[in-house]
Symmetry: C2
Subunit: 512 residues, 2 copies
């Protein structure tokens, strides 16, 4: 039952069956007739998507950015009923496909079918969590799921606070906002009202984190008016874990300088090496110095689903706030971030009464409001797919997937070690494998060869491997988030990388 | 083809057809076999959704928040393959349904079927716009669509900047961040690096906006470290439009005080009355005082699709930045916000080079990066549904829907005027109708009756009407975003409201 645009435009309303024949398809997704129209459109689009994936063949298009741009421009010429299939074809043909075993660059997971279907339900119902009367059941569901996730991290669910976010960056920003206003508030001022200039006085607000923490910590400091240089980077070890003695020294320096420590941000799973900061020791220091501890577990939080691996996050419940992304080790379509606080009252700086959303007398009459938990106003029910996934697979089901990726990283690291053309940076901690092609020659030559071999694999549409820079040098990276990828797949991928390195070395100098 | 959890968990990989019979359904959404599994799950879920909508009957559940909470708790007991249908049923039964003509409280639209189907495609492919190698075609599509939307507002698309956001709140926050760093940067400091305390010196940063501007302006000021009282509210007229002479006086006062004007935020469509600030005059003042002008057209931006109504936004192209939400007058599932800037370089404060996302040599080799346009890192391809919608319906198709809602508001206002039990606040400007039940007695009595009649309609599951406070008094509001709603529907809805007011008046005092 394809929708034709002329029929849509001619249908001012979802009309009942008439004796003249079947009515035209509805344009809106809502019931009674919209859901069947959505299902029919999705059915067609999924066929197109499957076909276009087969045609693409590899993990990404064998095209330059310029060629991808031109293909999209062509597809955007489609109009009417042709638009959905044509643009679906173009988006698929030009996708970097996280479901392909040779697409392993980023914390970019292949989503679960059941989570995608749940996401479609959320799109049709279009509930918005900024007021109860736009999301009665969704408000209840987010409240209950947040309590359950709080239990998972070891908070007492009933007293804990939390919210679904767009991801680790929003979780870090929100946590640091709460920490900023908590610290400055304790110092006797109200930064939310008066700003940090007046509020801070002469004490400089400071945020301490590992030198390998996510760049969103710096970005948040800039956004919050504290400035990037409010961030004090603490030395990390070779596995990118914060050195506790250096954290102590940094805290003492902040105190000696008369500065105001706003927060410590510990990382549970750095982006490159998957480093997990020593949480129990950091919790003790945070208590000793009376500083807000936020744990960025955007990547590592998924370990909590695994009975075998959750001990790696021991101590996490000692933090004031924790962020985790279920669009990483949780196999959700983006976005599925979570921010949790040990106590609900820690969200106080965001609380707000708005006449048109949560008037006081409505709240007193028992109508709850989640407005005071989020930086956003309109907010999609991303909680729904998370709830459906947790119930469909169970925590153990997700845990098995986490373990599969963790095991895969170990076997891939062994494959790197076994290949004389490749060099392993570190034994994997989570599900990444950082390595490089041994190019010989000087370090700059090695950097160039590795950067170019990666781009050559992209251009040829053969592989999407990650890259990063560690101690000044370019390294390559597999981020393994596909539980269906096998050791044979990673062996083939690593061979592609090594062969591309050989080819790069063999290319005449001027053509590089 | 229902997915059973045991089958999912037992399937370590998407296996080919075997002679023993058909393979179990895949758990991942990706091709080759995932898309068909998604389509089958969506088909089932849409049947459940349609059925549960029929069972609900009204625009929201006839339940208290406590009862909704209990129903969701029950549904969350489902496990395995039962979870998706059971939770879909619960979310639908407990939904405030924007597709129902008696759900008319908020800027909460019923989405288009084709946009929902496109959103499903985006979920399956799960492209993330923070790097090209997670979203080749999606990066191209967002770039091209942003240029097109820039043309729509009157910017020169090729030189303009822009990004898809989670909504007006994120658009306002991002624009004010850019404006803050632009203004403080021009004053010789770098707030992104050093913070606003050191940067601002003695000059107090100020943001000027109409007194009826969205609360996210205050919230953004708090987040950005400027403080809510950095916001200077400018007097508005009875239609909630900024008084230009008062804006001039406020700018002169800021200048006289030695303060730093960071931005003027003009509103094109206030939440309650749909007031559109006088844009041409404000543009002239912004130029005269050399202040960044941001237009919050989250609500009113959709007028640009209508040839008949777009003149209401004349002058908007004189702003430095413009936000508009296609999940309001654009019929997208949340989120579909847009932030545009007149020049791409205005995004400079957000630009950033990250080793693992957009290394310099990759950018020099022609790989584009959208990282520097967004506050987020991982970012879903929300642009896809917007592109599909614009091509399926055309701007004129959306414009016809905007006009239908605009006309409907006028006819509903006439219905209010014709009913002696109701009082109209203002002739509608956009698609809202603000009114109240004439309760007689003193003003507090009227406020109580109107607040209670609204809650009684919610409790009975009969209607979702909005409420707000204007000049200290409680008013009710219809926000008409459903183009399929007819004057007969609004007449019935207004009769429900008036009858509920009568019932509230007749209730014995103690039972209220």
């Amino acid at each position: 039952m394809p929708i034709t645009p002329s029929a849509e435009l001619a249908t001012p309303r979802d009309t009942p069956l008439s004796p003249e024949g079947p009515p035209p398809p509805p344009r809106l997704a809502g019931a009674p007739r919209g859901p069947a129209a959505v299902a029919a459109l999705v059915d067609d689009a999924m066929r197109t998507l499957a076909l276009a994936t087969t045609e693409r063949g590899g993990p990404l298009p064998a095209s330059t950015p310029h060629e991808v741009d031109a293909a999209v421009r062509d597809a955007l010429a489609a109009t009417g009923a042709a638009a959905l299939p044509r643009l679906t074809g173009a988006l698929t043909a030009g996708a970097a496909d996280p479901a392909h075993p040779h697409c392993a660059a980023h914390l970019h997971c292949p989503p679960l079918a059941v989570a995608v279907a749940a996401d479609t339900v959320a799109s049709v119902l279009n509930q918005s969590l900024d007021s109860w009367d736009q999301s009665p059941a969704a408000t209840a569901m987010e409240t209950q799921l947040v309590a359950e996730l709080a239990d998972l991290v070891g908070y007492h669910g009933a007293g804990a606070g939390g919210v679904i976010t767009s991801g680790g960056t929003e979780s870090n920003l929100t946590a640091l906002l709460l920490a900023r206003d908590h610290a400055l508030g304790a110092a006797g001022t109200d930064p939310g009202r008066h700003g940090v200039a007046r509020a801070a006085g002469t004490a400089r607000p400071r945020i301490l984190c590992g030198a390998a923490a996510h760049f969103s910590v710096q970005r948040s400091a800039a956004l919050l008016g504290l400035g990037e240089d409010a961030v004090v980077p603490v030395e990390v070890d070779a596995g990118h874990r914060m050195r506790v003695e250096d954290l102590r020294a940094a805290l003492e320096r902040v105190r000696a300088d008369g500065d105001l420590p706003v927060a410590i941000v510990a990382t549970a799973g750095t982006t490159d090496l998957g480093g997990i900061d020593p949480l129990p020791a950091i919790v003790r220091l945070a208590r000793e110095f009376d500083v807000w501890l936020h744990v960025d577990a955007a990547y590592g939080g998924g370990l909590l689903f695994s009975r075998r691996l959750r001990h790696l996050l021991t101590g996490i419940e000692g933090a004031q706030s924790i962020g985790m992304d279920l669009h990483k080790l949780g196999w959700q379509p983006v976005a599925a971030g979570v921010l949790l606080t040990r106590e609900r009252a820690l969200f106080a700086p965001l609380s707000r009464s708005v006449d048109y959303l949560n008037p006081t007398d409505d709240e007193e009459s028992g109508y709850p409001s989640l407005l005071g938990y989020s930086l956003r106003t309109t907010r999609r029910a991303d909680v729904f797919k998370i709830a459906v996934t947790l119930r469909t697979l169970g925590a153990d089901g997700l845990g098995a997937m986490v373990e599969a990726c963790h095991d895969l990283a170990r076997s891939a690291a062994a494959q790197v070690t076994a290949d004389p053309r490749l060099d392993l940076a570190q034994e994997p901690s989570l599900t990444t494998v950082v390595f490089r092609y041994r190019a010989g020659g000087d370090a700059e030559h090695g950097d160039r060869v590795n950067a170019r071999l990666r781009r050559s694999l992209l251009e040829q549409g053969r592989a999407v491997v990650g890259r990063t820079r560690i101690e000044g040098r370019v390294w390559l990276k597999l981020t393994l988030l596909n539980p269906d990828t096998t050791p044979d797949d990673t062996a083939a991928l690593l061979a592609l990388v090594a062969d591309a390195g050989d080819a790069e070395q063999a290319r005449p100098q001027e053509s590089r």
